[in-house]
């Protein structure tokens, strides 16, 4: 994948936008698996990503504004895939880190962070490196 100086590498960028509803989680999992396979992740890593993206979205859906749109952005950064899921929320709470979902998410994705924007859009980013194994351990 090539980059043009001074311009975002559009070939390295995929965005999926879908209704913020549990019924669409399976669609996003399928998209995640397809993209990870295209980027030569191993079968285990593809499964990790499929679960991790699903967990991140399930966490957001708990406080997503009903009827809003969930955005999922995939970027290939060097040897890693960075996935950022975000949704407008009613509470604007940062995801709690002492939950089972967050533990599973971190174990599978490796690096995970969250942020809350002023408009109460909550984002979760995960960073999965090829060949690092679950949780980079």
């Amino acid at each position: 994948m090539s980059q043009i100086a001074g311009e975002a590498a559009t070939q390295d960028f995929v965005e999926v936008r879908l209704p913020a509803a549990g019924a669409y989680l399976s669609v996003l999992r399928t998209a995640t698996a397809g993209l990870a396979a295209r980027l030569d992740f191993t079968l285990d890593e593809i499964e990790d990503l499929r679960i991790a993206v699903d967990e991140a979205c399930a966490i957001l859906l708990q406080q997503a504004v009903p009827g809003s749109v969930l955005s999922c952005v995939f970027r290939l950064v060097g040897n890693a895939l960075r996935v950022t899921v975000s949704a407008p929320t009613t509470d604007g709470r940062a995801p709690e880190r002492d939950t089972f979902a967050w533990t599973v998410l971190s174990a599978l994705a490796g690096e995970v962070e969250s942020s809350v924007a002023e408009d109460r859009t909550v984002s979760i980013s995960l960073h999965k490196t090829r060949g690092a194994g679950p949780g980079n351990s």
């Binding site: 549990g22 967990e55 399930a58």
Partner: protein
């Protein structure tokens, strides 16, 4: 796409005193509440003996894992048990990575529960 479209299916059969529950499909946040209430109903009596056959599960996330752990804890509290049947490498790996594998008896097949 409707919100109540099931992503997983649950079938139950009896093998003596053991209830064998076959779960198939994707067990995610959408499907887990139904599985949880179903397993709750199986673990209300004394000494429940539940075998969860996960061989046809194609996806399992923490909401599904929560359902398994909840059933296990409820069964143990009533002097019963929940065993898993699982031979899928991805599901087994998920159980290992989340450090839950050691908390369950995991059987490779359900042949011993065929008659009932």
């Amino acid at each position: 796409m409707s919100d109540d479209q099931p992503t997983s299916r649950i079938r139950e059969r009896l093998a003596g005193e053991t209830v064998v529950v076959e779960v198939s499909g994707e067990v995610d946040a959408l499907a887990a509440p139904r599985l949880i209430s179903y397993l709750d109903s199986l673990t209300t009596r004394d000494r429940p003996d539940v075998v969860l056959d996960l061989r046809r599960v194609t996806f399992l996330d923490c909401s599904g894992l929560t359902a398994l752990v909840r059933a296990r804890n409820r069964a143990l509290a009533r002097s019963g048990r929940v065993r898993l049947v699982c031979d899928d490498p991805f599901t087994l790996r998920t159980l290992r990575v989340t450090r839950l594998a050691g908390h369950f008896t995991i059987l490779p097949d359900a042949s011993e529960f065929r008659l009932g």
